[in-house]
């Protein structure tokens, strides 16, 4: 028998976190993310970890804030309304440079909406749903296997840049099962405690550590902000990730991420088989957005098709980054928890 196992997306999120070295989970139940918490409630005690059901998403995100500031791989997960409640904490963590990991299984909105998969929180995640000039790094895997591959990277990236990271999935990835493989297991003891960690002075050379996002002197705060902008720039340079399937200089460029990209891939392959000059550009990081790569791939394209499970958010960035008014832009969206069907996508791609 192989090492491949059939696993639910949400459970894979949990197992991947455990194998990345995460031993602290703070969460509040919400469909369609609850199984992540449930899996962790069951799994963490087996590996000497701690699962806490917080009293709210506010509390969960602030517990996470504390644990990550203490230098540990820690996480929370929620879905759209719960993520809205975390915006203050996220802005704080960005400002105080705390490497927290947040999984967002997006669902239909606005408001209570429904509990089906959606991508209507692209702006919230990429433009800063909270206040201030900050960015969180947003990974957007499109299969359960990619979730598994990205989780350790997500933790490492958070710690490398001391920045909050969001892994954005959706109800569909979370609820489906797929045959997957885990080829890593990191012992948390082997993850070094950073010297900035709040862990008691005795753990870091008896010099006190302070973690704060406060700076009452506006000139100093401006300087901090420009330093943060420098960091964001470095992240844009180094961490923009994307995937591309198609011909080299496509006439039609399709842009989609996450679940929609997955639904699109077969359709793209099909019309490729029919001889169409087409390609699918799939941002793997939504922020930093792989701008340069997109602009490059879009060079040859006359028609740019953006598919999202929203009323049109990614499309704005695509236009901004391609920045060529001579091209034809086409947007197709499903806001509110409905998904594209493969045949619908085929029809769109055929034009």
């Amino acid at each position: 028998m192989s090492d491949r196992i059939l696993m639910k997306g949400n459970e894979a999120v949990g197992e991947a976190a455990v194998r990345s070295g995460c031993r602290l989970y703070f969460g509040y139940p919400i469909t369609p993310a609850s199984e992540i918490a449930e899996y962790m409630a069951y799994r963490l005690p087996q590996v000497n970890g701690t699962f806490i059901q917080a009293e709210s998403e506010l509390a969960a995100s602030n517990m996470l804030y504390g644990a990550a500031a203490a230098g540990k791989y820690a996480m929370t997960a929620s879905s759209s309304p719960g993520i809205s409640l975390m915006q203050e904490a996220i802005s704080y963590m960005a400002g105080a440079e705390v490497p927290a990991l947040i999984v967002d299984a997006m669902r239909g909105g606005p408001g209570l909406g429904d509990i089906q998969a959606a991508q209507s929180d692209y702006f919230q995640l990429t433009k800063g749903g909270g206040h201030g000039d900050y960015h969180v790094i947003v990974f957007s895997p499109y299969t359960i296997q990619e979730v598994i591959n990205i989780m350790p990277l997500a933790f490492q990236t958070a710690f490398r840049y001391r920045n909050p990271v969001v892994v954005a999935v959706d109800g569909l990835i979370g609820q489906m099962m797929e045959a997957v493989e885990f080829n890593y297991f990191t012992d948390p003891e082997e993850i070094p405690l950073p010297d900035w960690s709040l862990s008691g002075k005795f753990r870091h050379g008896n010099k006190k550590n302070v973690n704060t996002s406060l700076e009452l002197d506006p000139d100093k705060l401006e300087a901090i902000n420009w330093r943060l902008q420098g960091k964001y720039h470095e992240i844009e340079e180094k961490e923009s990730r994307y995937d591309y399937v198609g011909v080299d200089n496509p006439e039609t460029l399709v842009v989609a991420y996450g679940t929609v990209a997955r639904l699109t891939i077969s359709a793209v392959k099909k019309v490729l088989g029919e001889g169409k000059s087409i390609g699918l550009f799939r941002p793997v990081t939504l922020w930093p957005f792989p701008k340069a790569a997109l602009a490059q791939k879009a060079k040859s394209a006359k028609r740019i098709v953006v598919l999202e499970m929203s009323a049109g958010q990614l499309i704005e960035d695509v236009k901004l980054y391609v920045y060529d008014p001579t091209k034809q832009y086409e947007f197709h969206g499903h806001p509110g928890g409905t998904t594209f069907t493969p045949s619908e996508i085929e029809q769109i791609l055929r034009g």
């Binding site: 192989s2 569909l172 099962m177 045959a179 997955r262 639904l263 891939i265 998904t339 493969p342």
Partner: protein, 182 residues
């Protein structure tokens, strides 16, 4: 090779489990597999369905809009899914419960008296396993009935060992039934 099936019925009829066992059997044969659930807007009770795709290649979409096979366990699902099956596809229906008349001429209908056969296996509730047996026959070039049964045991055995024998029986009854009518 890429195969897919949609399985639909009431919440309590075990349609989710069926789809999962099929996906597990494929996984245990080192194939790729996806299983995708879909619950109706009603939280509890109501209808539910799932889609299983198995393949020896990477699976593109786990969402299937024109399934090769639809396993249909009740009337409301018949209304919704009969029309979605791809031309030349198969509609596998639980004839014990479904009273709606089939409407298409471009698909093959297999009427399985699933509840009755289930009762023979020892439990009314094993109607889903009967249907699973029929699926085993239809997908017999992918896995053997023993492999299907073993996937069932891996899925169910831990939590409810008392059901294993009944389920096996039901799978076999379904498999035999299919063998005879197909």
């Amino acid at each position: 090779m890429t195969k897919n099936v949609v399985i639909a019925g009431f919440g309590g009829q075990g349609v989710m489990l069926m789809g999962q066992i099929l996906a597990l059997a494929a996984t245990e044969k080192n194939l790729n597999a996806t299983w995708l659930p879909s619950y109706g807007p009603e939280q509890r009770g109501g209808t539910a369905n799932c889609t299983t795709v198995i393949s020896d290649e990477e699976i593109g979409s786990p969402v299937v809009d024109t399934p090769q096979i639809a396993v249909i366990m009740n009337n409301p699902s018949m209304e919704k899914f009969e029309k979605m099956v791809e031309p030349k596809g198969t509609v596998l229906l639980n004839s014990t419960l479904i009273t709606i008349e089939p409407k298409r001429s471009d698909v093959t209908y297999l009427r399985v008296p699933a509840n009755e056969l289930a009762e023979q296996s020892g439990s009314q509730k094993a109607a889903n396993m009967v249907m699973l047996g029929v699926m085993g026959w239809l997908w017999k070039d992918t896995f053997t009935i023993e492999e299907l049964e073993s996937a069932m045991v891996h899925k169910v055995g831990d939590k409810r060992p008392q059901l294993v024998e009944i389920n096996k029986k039901a799978i076999e009854l379904g498999y035999e039934f299919a063998k005879n009518i197909v």
